[in-house]
Amino acid sequence: MTRAGEPLLQVQGLQVHFPIKRGVFVDRTVGHVRAVDGVDLAIDRGTTYGLVGESGCGKSTLGRAVLRLVEPTAGQVLFDGTDVASLRGEALRTMRRRMQMVFQDPLGSLDPRQDVESLLSEPLRAHGLGGGRAGIATRVRELLDAVGLPTAALRRYPHEFSGGQRQRIGIARAISLEPDLLIADEPVSALDVSVQAQVVNLLEELQQRLGLTYLVIAHDLAVVRHISDVVGVMYLGSLVEQAPSGALYDEPLHPYTRALMSAVPVPDPVVEERRERILLAGDLPSPADPPSGCRFHTRCPWRQETRCDDEVPVLRELAPGHLVSCHWAEEIRDGALQPRSAEEVAATQGVSVRATGVEAIESDALVQGLDEPIERR
């Protein structure tokens, strides 16, 4: 069943567009929110792929589309050689056993009226695994042990646990079916700082022991850097850079990655005072009406006239395994181009122009991203 040498998960040209409907009697589609707009990625067995980006960049939608929790508009998701997008009914259900998800909000993703034993045995029963009542009971105890919870937890309900413990239950549930791929959508962002490290360590330990493959989706670059082998940076529905974790942090090539990394605070005053800070102008433009050309050009401190505005950059391989979609990546790396300040960018671009939609299609809260400025005209 397993084919060595081939990536476990391959995503090719994945698009997820959400229609924007309008109208009282007839649903007219007035536009599309391009949450994911042509993403290619591959994850090797036993490795961790980290996906970072700001809210609204489509990283969660991508994760859900891989599991087919949302229906992809176009593109292929090849899981172990099978196209997940073409599966139906029972075949899909069986396939889902091998890909599980850990959600962001540990309380929201656990049924408040099921105790832990019931929560953990449900997936086993649903897939007819575990070997009967006694087998399931043993398996559930093993799972609790694996995530570091006492057996006494079995009879308790989710509200009786702390955030970190709840996330452990969520992880135990996800690994109960011995999946190959685990998609973790913001696994630690709802947790306290001191507890985050426990969950991160647990994920790493489980990966080593069970040979899991991870797709970790997070906005926290420090966490992603810590656990990922390969990191992909998303901006407005597409990948702007992908590189091995070390290479990305040593030498970020895309302007957006550079800005993102310079914005992450480092808990060390000495480093904080020395390092270069790239402030971006304005907000994320609306994914319903993305900017032309390079999607980052409205906020990019290195924007060059016309080419960035007209021509869509493609992902190019600049170093082994280091992909970047920027026309000027080499020039920026070599220092041939100098960045402009956020104020200058704001002045030339009128600050997040597309987001406020000068000649936008009918825009309202639905058209615009959740976090976007909105203008009604």
């Binding site: 985050q196 490290a197 670059l221 420090a222 810590h226 914005a263 005053p269 909105i374």
Partner: protein, 361 residues
């Protein structure tokens, strides 16, 4: 050149603190339940142009401290003790009329969630001008012009149009800027920012932090920064108070704190945060358990159950008497019986002798 000869910019950083909090305690009582002491004997002071950070995990009492300072806690079932002085005026027990005059004008607050702290049914303009009309006796027109200027100052593009818009029409970062604009409307002497960037993306967070930094430098506002993010503290705060279970457990200048954390909790926090500039595979050392495992201070050190340095006297011997917050080198205070030691650098920290303002209160 002596200190006195310095130009007025120097005068902003006087030693007379804008805010003095002394032995603040907040107790929540509910009928039929044991009263909960959320804040217990917290003391700190903030001078003009200074940024003080209150750091801790959720439930450590940092937000309650800020609400108590602003007098925003409900009267019923809440006992506030100690003393809070704003420029010498006692705020605790002050009549509502006085507080209402001070809030917004002399002291202001920026909250964590910008959407729920703005009124969704009222345009931004009305909400910003309200402060100006109320506290600066401005006419409507004058206030509108001033409001546009304020929005411009915090970096909101096209301010006159934005004034007519409702909160939902602004992005998260812009809402937070609007809130900061409202807080700045009367150039308050004290600004309390309660997790102002937690709900925002990192690039927007960087913009907001830069704005706050400029504000402190330019106008000499005293800033109290409440956060759980040690990275934010490292970049912004002058002095840091680490809180745990309602008490300050360590106080230090930010350089000292990050270079030589003494409380095992502070050290644990620093060791458990993954750093962007650290390599992959360097293991994190988390703190055991969670903040729920704290024991009451009366039974010993609240952190002892999670502490790797804990010894017998952290729990048993001290029952009945809490671990005191003691002088620990210049500018530092520490509440711990078995602190972390940093052998190579301790000489420099202790030999320079004490200073009058060293204790920071």
């Amino acid at each position: 050149m002596s200190i006195e000869a310095l130009p007025p910019e120097g005068a902003l950083r006087t030693d007379v603190p804008v805010l003095e909090v002394e032995d603040l305690s907040v107790t929540f009582a509910r009928r039929g339940e044991q009263p909960t002491r959320a804040v217990d004997g917290v003391s700190f002071s903030v001078a003009a142009g200074e940024t003080v950070g209150l750091v801790g995990e959720s439930g450590c009492g940092k937000s309650v401290t800020s609400l108590a300072v602003m007098g925003l806690l409900p009267r019923r079932g809440v006992q506030v003790g100690g003393s809070v002085r704003l420029g010498g005026t006692e705020l605790l027990g002050a009549p509502d009329r006085t507080l209402r005059r001070l809030r917004g004008a002399e002291m202001a607050m920026v909250f964590q969630d910008p959407l729920s702290s703005l009124n969704p049914t009222v345009p931004i303009g009305t909400q910003v001008t309200e402060v100006l009309v109320e506290h600066r006796d401005m006419g409507k027109k004058e206030a509108a012009t001033e409001a546009a200027e304020l929005l411009d100052r915090v970096g909101i593009p096209d301010p006159t149009r934005r004034l007519k818009e409702y909160p939902h029409q602004l992005s998260g970062g812009m809402r937070q800027r609007a809130l900061i604009a409202m807080a700045l409307a009367c150039s308050p002497r004290l600004l309390i920012a309660d997790e102002p960037t937690t709900a925002l993306d990192v690039t927007i967070q960087a913009q907001i932090l830069e704005l706050l930094r400029e504000l402190v430098v330019d106008s000499g506002t005293a800033l109290v920064m409440i956060t759980h993010d040690l990275g934010v503290v490292a970049g912004l705060c002058d002095r840091v108070h680490v809180m745990y279970a309602g008490k300050v457990i360590e106080t230090a200048d930010r350089h000292d704190l990050f270079a030589r954390p003494r409380q095992p909790y502070t050290g644990g926090l620093l060791a458990s945060v993954p750093r962007l500039d650290a390599g992959r595979g360097i293991p994190l050392t988390p703190i055991r358990g969670s903040a729920r495992d704290a024991i009451p201070w009366a039974e010993g050190c609240a952190f002892a159950p999670r502490c790797d340095n804990a010894q017998d006297d952290c729990l048993t011997e001290v029952a009945g008497s809490t671990v005191p917050l003691e002088y620990d080198g210049p500018g530092r205070e520490l509440r711990c019986r078995h602190p972390l030691t940093h052998p190579s650098s301790t000489a420099g920290a202790t030999s320079s002798g004490s200073t009058a303002s060293g204790a920071g209160r």
